[in-house]
């Protein structure tokens, strides 16, 4: 099953490679990984999307906690959470496609952020599955380029991951 794991880590050089190295060394899946500093510049916040059986997820959490630089780990799937990912898609926007793309973009509450003669660049935000659905909905041949940030996640309500 897919799990979203959030963690806070000392913002030291090499922090990312410790986490990435752990996943490859122990053959854990990694669907996406995002990392950036927080309002506290000494901390990095990471969101890892992974999948595996409950046993594997339990091991992943334990192994992450074992990393000396990791301050806190939270499996967002243990409670209610919100997941968001940002995607930029460059699509063909010529002839009949031009209106069609605009409509699709509206349906998915995307925004056209760049317009060129033959193309639009669309920004869409949402859960990763919503972004998947948007790509599905598009005519494959119309997609020129996609770039996704990977998911970020946060607990709902007073579920807070902080030191």
């Amino acid at each position: 099953m897919k799990h979203i794991i959030s963690l806070l880590m000392e913002n030291e050089s090499g922090a990312l490679s410790r986490v990435a190295g752990l996943f490859s060394a122990r053959a854990y899946n990694i669907e996406s990984l995002t990392v950036a500093p927080t309002e506290d510049a000494t901390l990095s916040r990471m969101t890892i999307v992974t999948s595996g059986s409950e046993d594997v997820i339990e091991q992943i959490i334990k192994q992450l906690n074992k990393l000396v630089d990791v301050v806190k780990v939270l499996d967002l799937n243990d409670g209610r959470y919100i997941e968001r990912e940002l995607m930029l898609v460059k699509v063909k926007a010529t002839g009949i496609f031009r209106d069609e793309m605009k409509r699709m973009c509206d349906i998915f509450r995307g925004r056209i952020i760049d317009v060129a003669d033959g193309s639009y660049t669309i920004e869409v935000t949402g859960s990763s599955s919503k972004l998947d659905a948007f790509l599905e909905a598009l005519d494959k041949s119309a997609i020129l380029e996609t770039v996704r940030t990977g998911a970020s996640g946060i607990g709902r309500g007073d579920r807070i991951l902080k030191v």
């Binding site: 090499g14 091991q59 334990k62 000396v68 990791v70």
Partner: protein, 577 residues
């Protein structure tokens, strides 16, 4: 050459700071090898005498020797190597220590900070290379950080589940100046090892154990590393339950005690493996259910039992085997609490149940799975170990390499004390034996130290004969020379229809002459009748290094054996092949 800028008053160089840190940590020995990137450090070593530097002949041996020093004493071992090839030579040693959770601080030189990333001479990304085989590592980027980093390194290495920590220091940093202030303590919000176990879980565990009909205590290296042997003995004796140790756990419970069933696992005794398989309540302490211990996990689970697991590392719990009662904590602290509960407890185990369980165990013991056929013609390796145990009165520090000789040493030398059996259990590194013996002998100058080895393994760090001479280490090498990479040959005999692919050791040196050329005593022992006398003679030479070359039976195999992928109760016994 970089500029060594002149100091303000109260300032000392990074190299001197490092030395002062090691003094603060009360380091007795630094095992190392010099080179360009650590020359400033070596210059400071020259000027001090707080610790002794042991010049090895290969960096791998420096790390192994520091590792053995840590295993034998419980203190943090320290090694020092130069950048590039010095650093890469240290890797096997670091990985070996990592797999067995040994507290080490390995200091490596690095090219000057401005040269990092420029493919400079003798540059290697030490932090990157060692990341998967250290507990933690650091690259020091400022002379002002040296002291705090070394303090953290020792703290991390020794606490929680111990392990090696690498500190990589660029050469220019050791030349820069700063004020020396050694932190009194360390606080790390990201690293807070758990010591005390959960009291409710501990109570539950004791209750389960008291109600058990077929209880079993299985302990590993954690009991030795956690200095919990006494607490374990008290606990096991109070209950009268059977105990087994893993390869790493030997000495954690006295081998000559009647409650001891011997080592378990791939080459464990029949009774230990059968009791492990058939018990109804299993207490695992500082052990990790690894593949060499429980065999096929599916087979292990074909029997129902309740498992209690005490370990300082939460990630060791429920990793290979689902645990019913997990207890995360320092094994010494948890066992102490369990002992207190037992003393206060009025309930006792059901005498009838325990008696019939012991009767069952005794029938397994009757298989005498460690009996071998001795010979008057050719030296049996098991016989050498038995005699070694007698001659050293069971009180030696015994190191081993990896192979058949290691398993015979574990099976036939009965360890009654912790920290006496020093071997590479996790990584299984051939070549550790001699440097391990060096670390043990330096830690205990007057103790008897025996290195049990094979002719394959000993040649992997044979150059250390020179170090042993330089420091006058009176180690006794017990070479069980079967002219084969015996453990490989055994697998080829069992599983590859006797196709002995590259497992014959040809062109062996004359070990006696070799030992003599390094200034040691060499002995060839060919006749079984000479084994005991030769051992006595060797151990009587209290101040000499003696290399004993026992020419042993080439065809001897290690039994019992649980073949790879089989279950614990599916052992091959001697005479059943």
């Amino acid at each position: 050459m970089e500029d060594r800028t002149s100091p303000h008053s109260h300032q000392i160089s990074g190299a001197e700071i490092l030395i002062r840190c090691l003094q603060e940590e009360k380091v007795k020995f630094v095992f190392g090898y010099p080179g360009g990137a650590v020359l400033h450090i070596y210059d400071e070593i020259f000027k001090q005498d707080a610790f002794k530097h042991i010049l090895v002949r290969h960096e791998q041996a420096a790390v192994h020797a520091a590792d053995a020093f840590a295993r034998a004493t419980g203190e943090v071992g320290v090694a020092l190597v130069t950048s590039g090839p010095g650093a890469t030579n240290a890797i096997t040693g670091i990985a070996t220590a990592y797999m067995d959770s040994i507290p080490l601080v390995v200091i490596s030189g690095q090219v000057p900070a401005p040269a990092i990333g420029m493919d400079a001479f003798q540059e290697v990304d030490m932090v990157g290379i060692t990341r998967p085989c250290v507990k933690h590592n650091f690259l020091v980027k400022d002379v002002k950080d040296i002291a705090a980093t070394i303090k953290k390194a020792f703290y991390i290495a020794a606490t929680g589940r111990p392990g090696p920590v690498v500190v990589d220091i660029p050469k220019d940093i050791t030349a820069h100046f700063a004020k020396f202030e050694y932190p009194a303590s360390v606080e790390m919000r990201s690293y807070t090892p758990i010591i005390k176990g959960h009291s409710g879980q501990i109570k539950k565990a004791v209750k389960l154990l008291l109600e058990a009909k077929r209880p079993m205590i299985y302990t590993g290296g954690g009991v030795v590393l956690g200095n919990a042997a006494e607490e374990l003995i008290q606990f096991a004796r109070k209950l009268g339950y059977p105990v087994t140790n893993t390869l790493m756990g030997l000495g954690g419970y006295p081998s000559t005690d009647n409650q001891f069933l011997g080592m378990l696992g791939m080459h464990g005794t029949y009774e230990a493996n059968m009791a492990m398989q058939n018990c109804d309540v299993l207490l695992a302490v500082g052990a990790r259910f690894d593949d060499r211990v429980i065999g096929n996990p599916g087979h292990f689970f074909s029997k129902d039992r309740t498992i209690i697991h005490v370990d300082v590392d939460p990630s060791s719990i429920s990793k290979r085997v689902k645990i019913d009662v997990p207890i995360v904590g320092d094994v010494k602290s948890v066992l102490t609490e369990m002992n207190e509960l037992l003393i206060a407890e009025t309930k006792t185990p059901d005498a009838g149940d325990i008696k019939s369980w012991w009767q069952q165990i005794d029938t397994w013991r009757e298989k005498k799975s460690l009996v071998y056929k001795n010979s008057t013609e050719v030296i049996k390796p098991q016989y050498v170990i038995e005699k070694l145990w007698e001659v050293t009165k069971g009180d030696a520090y015994v190191t081993s390499d990896v192979g058949q000789h290691q398993m015979w040493a574990a099976q036939y030398y009965k360890f009654d004390k912790p920290r006496r059996w020093i071997n590479s259990g996790g990584l299984g590194t051939m070549g550790v034996g001699l440097p391990y013996a060096m670390g043990c002998q330096l830690a205990n100058p007057t103790a008897q130290v025996a290195c049990i080895t094979g002719e394959g393994s000993i040649q992997m760090n044979i150059q250390e004969l020179s170090t042993c001479h330089q420091f006058r280490l009176p180690i006794k090498v017990i070479l069980l020379n079967n002219r084969y990479l015996g453990m490989v040959r055994q697998w080829q005999e069992f599983f590859y229809e006797n196709r002995y692919s590259e497992s014959y050791m040809d062109s062996l040196p004359d070990f006696v002459k070799l030992a003599e050329s390094y200034g040691h005593v060499g002995m060839n022992i060919v006749n079984p009748a000479d084994v005991e006398g030769a051992l006595k003679e060797a151990f009587d030479m209290k101040d000499r290094f003696v290399f004993m070359n026992f020419i042993t039976d080439q065809t001897e195999n290690v039994f019992p054996m649980v073949p790879n992928g089989k279950g614990l109760s599916e052992m091959i016994l001697a005479g059943e092949e």
